[in-house]
Symmetry: C3
Subunit: 145 residues, 3 copies
Amino acid sequence: MPTLSRRTCCLIVAAFGALAAAPALAQGNERPLQKAVIQVSDNDVQKWNLALNNARNMQDDLGPEATDLEIVVYGPGIGMLKSDSPVAKRVAEALGRGVKVVACENTMKAQKLSYPDMLPDIGYVPAGVVELVKRQHQGYAYIRP
Amino acid sequence: MPTLSRRTCCLIVAAFGALAAAPALAQGNERPLQKAVIQVSDNDVQKWNLALNNARNMQDDLGPEATDLEIVVYGPGIGMLKSDSPVAKRVAEALGRGVKVVACENTMKAQKLSYPDMLPDIGYVPAGVVELVKRQHQGYAYIRP
Amino acid sequence: MPTLSRRTCCLIVAAFGALAAAPALAQGNERPLQKAVIQVSDNDVQKWNLALNNARNMQDDLGPEATDLEIVVYGPGIGMLKSDSPVAKRVAEALGRGVKVVACENTMKAQKLSYPDMLPDIGYVPAGVVELVKRQHQGYAYIRP
């Protein structure tokens, strides 16, 4: 009969259970990696600052190495990532601390923006809303400031 | 001894693991079905258009057959689904593309609205907020435009 | 060989599957416990009332014993929980019906608020956004009125 004993089989079960129930573990240690996507879709500088505050507070509270954060910017929020953004410096700081910041290419097309119009070092996704949905299906919590 | 071999048992394990970890698969193929609920609770035509844009962008990006989308309308957002709604035509288009659009009956009672006051072909739920919570527990991602 | 039969092993599998797929069960009965966190981060009395309506509607629809609700108040929303809050009475009612209501201590520090400035009987969390993320990872649905 097969190479897997019952005990092995049950260990596999337990492993699947743990994967399903718990957030991912940070590599190399036992602390759970707190994953979250933060949505920015308002044309409102106060909301942009709140999103950046939310990311910073998560990193301050949990430690940057224990968080996996992505700010997804789309629709009327896109101005947050244009090169003349009033929060350009804070976006750079967030990127420097390991926060992913991505702009929606659908929105850019609709507003006739191209890559040189945008802040340096940010990422891009084809559709912001799809990114938010996929990330939640990957186990990211959702925050909308 | 039983009819299930160890191999069968482990296959069942793997199946449960896959069910728990991954989004549901679209019937008849191997692509994951991207499920999402979209909340509309603002009395704001721009937000209604954003919600409809979000649904359309998801379908455009992923293919309508790979998405399972439900727009839940309640509280101050209910005007989106009244028969004089400024987005009536776009709601009909979304319904035609297979997006579910549901109105909250609690809100309708509070605002003395009855079914003939509402757009044709929409669905109804007893409480919008309960629908949003139940859907998330069923594995739907949450989007609030 | 081990004390676990294949049947037992498969029952464990099924149990893990159920845990992963379904919301927690209410103690002592078979109904699922509907868990949700409700975010309040706007300086807007209408939003505060909506959050309280959402909690009450969930309890009315499902029964208070079948719900596990927590309202997390932070950022510009903090006025909802100050002792002069225009919704003080409704917050007390929600607490009386078993809804948890918590204030963000990060926000309090930033706004130089201390505990005596706040409504009685509420709870406190170090960082509102972290609470929202952790709760989602514990299986709570997310609602942002």
